[in-house]
Amino acid sequence: MTYQLLNVQGLETRFKTPEGVIHAVNGVSFTLDQGETLGVVGESGCGKSVTMLSCLKLIASPPGEIVAGKALFKDIDLLKMGNEEIRKVRGSHISMIFQDPMTSLNPVINIGKQLAEPLIEHMDMTNEQARKRSIELLELVGISNPDERLKDYPHQYSGGMRQRVMIAMALSCMPEILIADEPTTALDVTIQAQIVELVKRLRQEFGMAIIWITHDLGVVANIAQRVAVMYGGYIIEEAPVKELFANPSHPYTLGLIGSLPKLNEAGHTRLYSIEGMPPVLYRKPQSCPFSPRCTYVNERCWSENPPLEAINDGHRIACWVDTKTGSNRQ
């Protein structure tokens, strides 16, 4: 029986910058069940990373500020936790891995020490226990000679290996949720495929829930069961993965899928491109944030911001227009 692990409601995060207040996340709500993989897709600056960092209170304040919302982890609000409390949750219940493994690892401490730290900290292990467990973890993520390699420093590992170490570290305390923030973006396709397969295998073995943040729809199709597409600090479409690819409904999602070159393309077709670029939001949008780039835009889009509403079982979109007919939805 699966149960709900995470329930985020109405999350809003802002950043104060010299140019003005940036509204990075503008009311994001989503849930995550035990053992489920949620893909979060969007361009740089759409708020996908900030959403997840906010849930773990990893937003530096100032300049950042979580101004509204709840993030219930098994019915306890993470956002209301004190520093000491949330620190226990991070690492032992919810872990996060980041895009660039080189900047996430300390270059002057060897891998063994870095792996052992959370084990000693969160699991009350002795040095010797932590060492044994570190070796097991490296083996688990497919690093050969783990015994020897514990003594090595991050620069002695390749990019793919470093990301494996990050995953080993994130898994060390058996978290219930793993948040992966573009973990394969900096890697070659071949290494990306290895990492994706590894995470899928670990999910089956340990049954943890995963939030996989990416801008690559190909990776999402491979790993996620449900997908949330973000734009301008909102979730603008959310659906089970097959439904999303079979029946994309928001103009932005349609554009994203359309702008990918087709592998089975026979003749030469022109790529569909979404003109313009993502907005920087100095105030909370009063109209649909996608309007300036949207090909379906009409009067209503410029005056009212559409809410995220169900159009189908488990399929929600935030758009006034029915993209199948081109006229407004009822």
Binding site: V189, A193, A221, K242, F245, I257, L263, S273, M277
Partner: protein, 326 residues
């Protein structure tokens, strides 16, 4: 003499080794075998895609062709002229014909120069325009890459990644080049912006009759933009053929593994198709494996692979691959 089949660039046995020095007297102790005997042709007006994992030597190949590195051995013929034997001054003039677009639009533009300065630099360096002519040419170039000419006084930080890449393209086009090396021009960009830049490159190719060497690790985009594709592994070309032939009928096990690793944006497909995942990383180019360089990761390796260096042979019509198992 501008027939479609005319060869613009002919690369022959190109070798680029970077020496490694050690010790007080800086004795050479080894070399990075970045490019190790690469040969291919690029025809007038076509796009040759060059793919492979990081560290396989694809960027070095591009730079060595433009003589940004002095090749260790081999020849590069541009319209029958051997670039490797040209005197520096003669080469400087040849550079008007060939330009480069770089991967990182943040690092390849000087943050202290305005758009006008950046785009006009090639013009002033070769003294082809002055005063008002420069402004006109800059405006024309910015329009060509679909940027507002009124932005000429602005600085790079005021632009997004996609726009910066357009600035890089405008700069490359300033001297009306015929041949452009595109070194991963879209890898640093968002998905929706990638399509914009690729469409722009294709439009420019048609209008200005450009020839591209398109370096990338994104195989699906390479398939889209290229006429022919060369696959590189550890400094050597392992397979080269027309794009459809390569994708429909990959012969070399490395090409097969690369294609299999592409994440297909189709959940039904990925559920029903088992991917073959290649294990391990690219070995160090300081000490490449003997014989076939791919043998340490190859799924169909046999003993002979360690002794025999496979040659690039024509296996099917216009389809070359380097593997003794074929």
């Amino acid at each position: 003499m501008n027939t479609a089949d005319e060869t613009l660039l002919h690369v022959e046995d190109l070798v680029m080794h970077f020496p490694i020095y050690r010790g007080v007297i800086q004795r050479q102790v080894g070399a990075v075998h970045a490019v190790d005997g690469v040969s291919f042709d690029i025809k007038q007006g076509e796009t040759l895609g060059l793919v492979g994992e990081s560290g396989c030597g694809k960027s070095t190949t591009g730079r060595t062709i433009l003589q940004l590195y002095k090749p260790t051995a081999g020849h590069v013929y541009y319209r029958d002229q051997d670039l490797t034997t040209l005197k520096p001054e003669a080469m400087r003039h040849m550079r008007r014909e060939m330009q480069m677009i770089f991967q990182d639009p943040y690092a390849s533009l000087n943050p202290r120069m305005t758009l006008r300065d950046i785009v006009s630099q090639p013009l002033t360096a070769f003294d082809v325009a002055s005063g008002k002519e420069i402004d006109d040419r800059v405006a024309e170039l910015l329009k060509l890459v679909k940027l507002n000419p009124d932005f000429a006084g602005r600085y790079p930080h005021e632009f997004s990644g996609g726009q910066r890449q357009r600035i890089g393209v405008a700069r490359a086009l300033a001297l009306n080049p015929k041949f452009i090396v595109c070194d991963e021009p879209i890898s640093a960009l968002d998905v929706s912006i990638q399509a914009q830049v690729v469409n722009l490159l294709e439009d420019l190719q048609e209008v200005l009759e450009l020839t591209y060497l398109f370096i990338a690790h994104d195989l699906s985009m390479v398939r889209h933009i290229s006429n022919r594709v060369a696959v590189m592994y550890l400094g050597v070309i392992v397979e080269i053929t027309d794009r459809n032939e390569l994708y429909n009928n990959p012969l070399h096990p490395y090409t097969q593994a690369l294609l299999s690793a592409i994440p297909v944006p189709d959940p039904v497909y990925s559920e029903t198709h088992q991917r073959t995942i290649m294990q391990g990383d690219v070995p160090s180019p300081v000490n490449p494996p003997s014989g076939c360089r791919f043998r340490t990761r190859c799924p169909i390796v046999i003993e002979e692979c360690a002794q025999q260096k496979p040659e690039l042979l024509q296996i099917r019509p216009n389809h070359f691959a380097a593997c003794i198992r074929l």
